[in-house]
C-alpha cells in the first residue's frame, strides 16, 4: 500500500521579477508503506523541493497544468491549509536535516520534547517519551547537554530522536549524513535503518552519497526537475542489513 502518492507535482520558485526557477516539472511518485527510499540527483535536480512537498512544508503549484495530486495514506493533502499541514507535520512526520537544526538554547531533551509539545503531548508524558527516544539513539546520558556541548554525530542522533519521538508514519531526512564523517554517517544510517526495520516507519531521504543510497530499499534518481529512474525495490527478503549495524557507541 502506498503511503505517499503524488502526481503532477510542480514547483516554480520566483527568485526575482524576471528570474524564476522551475524546480519540479511534473513529478509522479509513489512510496510504499515501510519502504526506505533514497532520492538522489545532482544539485538543482529538484530532490529537496520534492522532499519539501512530500513533507508538506510546501504545497505543489496548483496552476499551469493538470491539477496536482498528493495523498498521504490515501487522504488528499494537496490543497490543505497551512494549519492542517502543520498538524500533520507535527503528528505524522518526523524531519531530520543536514545541519541537525537543533534549537541552540535548549538541552537535548528539551529539543526532543519540543516535538511532543507541538504534537499535543506535554508535561510528564512528553518528558517520558523524550527520554525513551534519547535512549533509543543511545544518548540518555546526554539529555541535559546543550547542542554546543555535543559532537556532530550526537547532535544528529538527537535530531533523529526528535524525529522519532511521536512515532510518526514517515521520516523525511534531507542529507542526514551530509555533515558527518563516514563512521558517524554509518551510525546515523544504521539508526534510520533500524527504526525502519523494527517499527515499520517509512523513511524518505535525500542524499548525494551513493553509499547511503545503496543502504536503502530503492533509489529514485532525479535530474532537471524530473524523475529519471524509479529504481528497483530490493528483495523484500533481504535479511542481512546492507550496512552492518554498528553498536551505537557513545564517544568517550
Amino acid at each position: 500500500m502506498a503511503i505517499l502518492e503524488g502526481r503532477n507535482l510542480r514547483k516554480t520558485y520566483r527568485l526575482s521579477r524576471r528570474n524564476t526557477v522551475e524546480a519540479l516539472k511534473g513529478v509522479e511518485i509513489s512510496i510504499e508503506k515501510g519502504e526506505m527510499v533514497a532520492i538522489m540527483g545532482p544539485s538543482g535536480s529538484g530532490k529537496s523541493t520534492l522532499m519539501h512537498i512530500l513533507g508538506l512544508l510546501h504545497a505543489p503549484d496548483p496552476n499551469h497544468g493538470p491539477a496536482p495530486e498528493l495523498r498521504l495514506a490515501g487522504e488528499d493533502v494537496a490543497a490543505l491549509s497551512d494549519n492542517a499541514r502543520t498538524k500533520i507535520r507535527a503528528r505524522r512526520m518526523g524531519f531530520v536535516f543536514q545541519d541537525f537544526n537543533l534549537v541552540p538554547t535548549l538541552t537535548a531533551l528539551e529539543n526532543v520534547t519540543l516535538a511532543c509539545d507541538y504534537a499535543g503531548i506535554g508535561g510528564k508524558l512528553g518528558r517520558q517519551a523524550g527520554l525513551e527516544a534519547l535512549a533509543l539513539v543511545g544518548l540518555e546520558d546526554r539529555a541535559n547537554h546543550k547542542p554546543s556541548e555535543l559532537s556532530g554525530g550526537e547532535q544528529q542522533r538527537v535530531a533523529i530522536a526528535r524525529a522519532l519521538v511521536n512515532k510518526p508514519e514517515i521520516i523525511l531526512a534531507d542529507e542526514p549524513t551530509g555533515n558527518l564523517d563516514s563512521d558517524r554517517s554509518a551510525e546515523v544510517l544504521a539508526l534510520l535503518r533500524q527504526f525502519n526495520r523494527e517499527h515499520g516507519q517509512t523513511v524518505v531521504l535525500v542524499t548525494h552519497d551513493s553509499e547511503v543510497g545503496e543502504a536503502c530499499d530503492r533509489v529514485i534518481r532525479m535530474r532537471d526537475g524530473r524523475i529519471r529512474d524509479y529504481g528497483q525495490r530490493a528483495a523484500a527478503t533481504a535479511a542481512a542489513p546492507v550496512i552492518a549495524v554498528p553498536a551505537v557507541a557513545v564517544p568517550a
Partner: protein, 389 residues
C-alpha cells in the same frame, strides 16, 4: 525558564529595553503619585465644600482674604435658607514664601468648637489626644494635622510656637490626604489674637479683636440648594464673596485636572518610547532567530504557537521593566516624601491602584509591542527560514 534563557541570550539588548520600560514606568509611578496627591487634596476639598457656602471678604476665596465681622453670623442666620452659620479665622502658619510650594501651605484655622451645631459632615479621626471643645476658648491650645505635626515634631502634651505664640498640643489627627493634614486648629479667640497682629496698626486700632474673622461657614437648611443660599447672602450683605462647592470645583478642579493630565502625559510619552524599543528588540530577536523559527515550524509548531512564544517573551520584558520601574518609583516617592516632610510638603501618594495599573500597563504594552514582530515571524516560510544564515 526557557524564556529567561532566551532573554539572557541577548543580555545587552534585553537590559537596554527593560531599562527603557523601567524609566517610563518610573515616570508614570512618580508623576501618577503626584497626581494622586493633588487629586486627593482636591477631592477632599470638594467633599468639604460640597454642602456649604463659604463667605469671604470681597475678592477673597475659601474663607481667606480681608477681614469680616463675626456679627455677620447673626445677620446671615436670619436668611431664609440658612440653618447654621459660624465664623472662622484662617491665616498661614508662616508668611515665608519658601514654605509655600505645591498644594496648600500650612494654615492656622480658628473657630469655636461645636459652633457648627453638629452640621459638619467632614469626619476627622484623632491619632492621639482629643478634639477642641468650647471650653478651650480663651486658652492657647491646638490640634495639629498629621503632616504639620511631623513637620513641627510635635507630640500631645508638648508645645509648639505658631506666629510667635506658644500653644499646647492637645490632639493630633490621622492623615486625611487633604487640607486638614496641614492645618493647626485653634480656638477662635486665639486665632483672632494672631490675626490682629498681622494687620496694619491703623486698621487694627479700629477693630474689636473679638469680632474679627476671615470667613464665615454657612450650612443651608436640609434640602436647600447652596447656590440659592449664596445668592441670598450676596443680595443681603455688601462686600462679601460667597463660594459654593460648585465654585470650588470650577476654580480648583479645572486647574488641577490640567496639571494631572500633564503629569500623566509625561509618563505616557516616556512609555511610548519604551514600547517602541520593545518592538525594536523583538524585531531584532525575530531576525536573529529566523532559522530557529524555521525549525520549529518544520517540526510542527503552528503559526499561533510562534506568535504566542514571541508575544509572551515581550510581555515578560514589559513585566520586568514594569516591576523595576515600580520599585524605583516607590523609592523616589518614599525618599521625596521623607525629604519633604520637614518642610511640610508631601508631594506623592503612591496608591495600590497606581502601582498595579502601571505594572499591568507595562506588561500589556510589552505584549502589544511584541505582536508586530510575532506576526512577521509567524508568516515566515519554514523552508526559507531553515536556509537562513
Amino acid at each position: 525558564m526557557r524564556l529567561v534563557r532566551d532573554l539572557g541570550r541577548r543580555k545587552l539588548r534585553s537590559t537596554l529595553t527593560i531599562t527603557g520600560i523601567m524609566i517610563g514606568i518610573m515616570a508614570l509611578v512618580v508623576f501618577g503619585s503626584m497626581a494622586n496627591k493633588i487629586d486627593a487634596l482636591v477631592k477632599g476639598g470638594s467633599e468639604y465644600y460640597k454642602d456649604k457656602v463659604t463667605v469671604s471678604a470681597k475678592g477673597g476665596t475659601m474663607g481667606l482674604g480681608g477681614v469680616l465681622s463675626t456679627r455677620m453670623v447673626d445677620q446671615i442666620e436670619t436668611l431664609d435658607g440658612v440653618d447654621v452659620a459660624l465664623a472662622s479665622t484662617m491665616m498661614m502658619v508662616s508668611d515665608d514664601a519658601s514654605a509655600v510650594s505645591m498644594g496648600i501651605p500650612p494654615m492656622i484655622v480658628g473657630s469655636i468648637a461645636g459652633s457648627d451645631k453638629g452640621r459638619e459632615t467632614f469626619k476627622l479621626n484623632y491619632a492621639s489626644g482629643r478634639a477642641l471643645t468650647p471650653q478651650d476658648e480663651g486658652s492657647n491650645v491646638v490640634v495639629l494635622g498629621s503632616d504639620l505635626s511631623k513637620q513641627l515634631k510635635a507630640k500631645v502634651g508638648g508645645t509648639v510656637t505658631l506666629r510667635g505664640e506658644t500653644f499646647q498640643v492637645v490632639g493630633i489627627l490621622e492623615p486625611t490626604l487633604t487640607a486638614p493634614d496641614n492645618e493647626a486648629a485653634v480656638p477662635l479667640a486665639a486665632a483672632q489674637q494672631l490675626l490682629i497682629k498681622t494687620l496694619p496698626a491703623l486698621i487694627a486700632d479700629k477693630l474689636n479683636v473679638n469680632e474679627i474673622a476671615t470667613g464665615l461657614v454657612v450650612y443651608p437648611k436640609p434640602g436647600v440648594d447652596p447656590q440659592k443660599v449664596a445668592d441670598e447672602i450676596k443680595a443681603a450683605i455688601a462686600g462679601v464673596t460667597p463660594m459654593t462647592g460648585k465654585d470650588f470645583d470650577k476654580q480648583i478642579g479645572a486647574a488641577t485636572s490640567v496639571l494631572s493630565a500633564i503629569l500623566i502625559g509625561i509618563g505616557l510619552i516616556s512609555l511610548l518610547v519604551g514600547g517602541l524599543s520593545v518592538i525594536n528588540t523583538m524585531a531584532m530577536s525575530v531576525a536573529e532567530r529566523t532559522r530557529e523559527i524555521g525549525i520549529k515550524r518544520a517540526i510542527g509548531a503552528s503559526r499561533w504557537r510562534i506568535r504566542r512564544e514571541i508575544v509572551i517573551e515581550s510581555a515578560v520584558i514589559g513585566l520586568i521593566g514594569g516591576l523595576l520601574g515600580l520599585t524605583l518609583g516607590f523609592l523616589i516617592t518614599a525618599l521625596g516624601n521623607d525629604a519633604g516632610r520637614d518642610s511640610g510638603t508631601i508631594l506623592f501618594d503612591l496608591t495600590f491602584g497606581t502601582a498595579l495599573s502601571s505594572v499591568t500597563f507595562a506588561t500589556i504594552l510589552g505584549a502589544v509591542a511584541g505582536f508586530i514582530p510575532a506576526w512577521h515571524a509567524s508568516r515566515l516560510d519554514p523552508v526559507a527560514a531553515l536556509r537562513y544564515e
